[in-house]
């Protein structure tokens, strides 16, 4: 199983969670990013993610590898949605298992922060009222 993957269909958090379960594992930390109905004061109707798939998968796998090097963890997985998403849908899921919770929390936080800042994925938000916009944060 790839440690980082893009998914065009709904992310199955429960089955990803089961992937992380091992008897020798004491701690599992997960992060779920969901589509919010508001962003910076604007009412969001829906959104889409576009990725440069080849590079996104390579860079994502690199981040997961860094997490395994930096923190004493057992396993780490991340899946990011691409395509059209509805309000409330899961956009990104990160799960980390470890013997101890310090490493699990730190690695989970590291992965979502790095994925958000480095992986070539872009969010296109559609707002109530008809406008739509690519999000290109210049000061991430």
């Amino acid at each position: 199983m790839k440690t980082f993957s893009l998914s065009e269909s709904a992310i199955d958090a429960a089955s990803l969670g089961r992937e992380l379960e091992r008897e020798h594992v004491g701690a599992v930390v997960t992060f779920e990013g969901r589509v919010r109905d508001h962003n910076e004061g604007r009412a969001v109707r829906g959104l889409a993610y576009e990725a440069y798939a080849e590079l996104a998968e390579a860079e994502g796998a690199r981040i997961l590898g860094e997490a395994r090097t930096r923190f004493e963890i057992a396993r780490a997985l991340c899946v990011h949605r691409v395509g059209e998403l509805a309000l409330g849908e899961l956009a990104v899921w990160v799960g980390v298992s470890a013997a101890h919770r310090d490493a699990a929390f730190a690695a989970c936080r590291y992965i979502i922060d790095e994925v958000k800042s480095r992986v070539p994925i872009w969010k296109h938000e559609r707002y109530v009222g008809g406008k739509a916009e690519w999000l290109h944060p210049w000061n991430p």
Partner: protein, 79 residues
């Protein structure tokens, strides 16, 4: 030289295409971006645009080879 250019997100919208083939004297991604920006009216400053060559991140002044595929990547917003 022959290059394939890839555009993403707002750059793709501004270019009106996800991909184009160009013949150019430019030998580095920075020069190719300047040409593309003039041609398509990109308003995103070049220092905000990351570059990938043949599927890997690269510097804007890397020396290109004939047939290279150059991607222009606006600031990312995954997650």
């Amino acid at each position: 030289m022959n290059y394939t250019l890839l555009y993403f997100a707002s750059l793709r919208d501004a270019a009106g295409c996800a991909q184009e083939s160009v013949v150019s004297e430019a030998r580095d991604p920075g020069s190719l971006y300047a040409d593309a920006a003039a041609r398509h009216g990109f308003r995103m400053p070049p220092e905000r645009v990351r570059v990938a060559v043949n599927g890997a991140f690269a510097a804007r002044d890397v020396v290109l080879n004939d047939g290279d595929e150059i991607a222009f990547l606006p600031p990312v917003s995954g997650g």
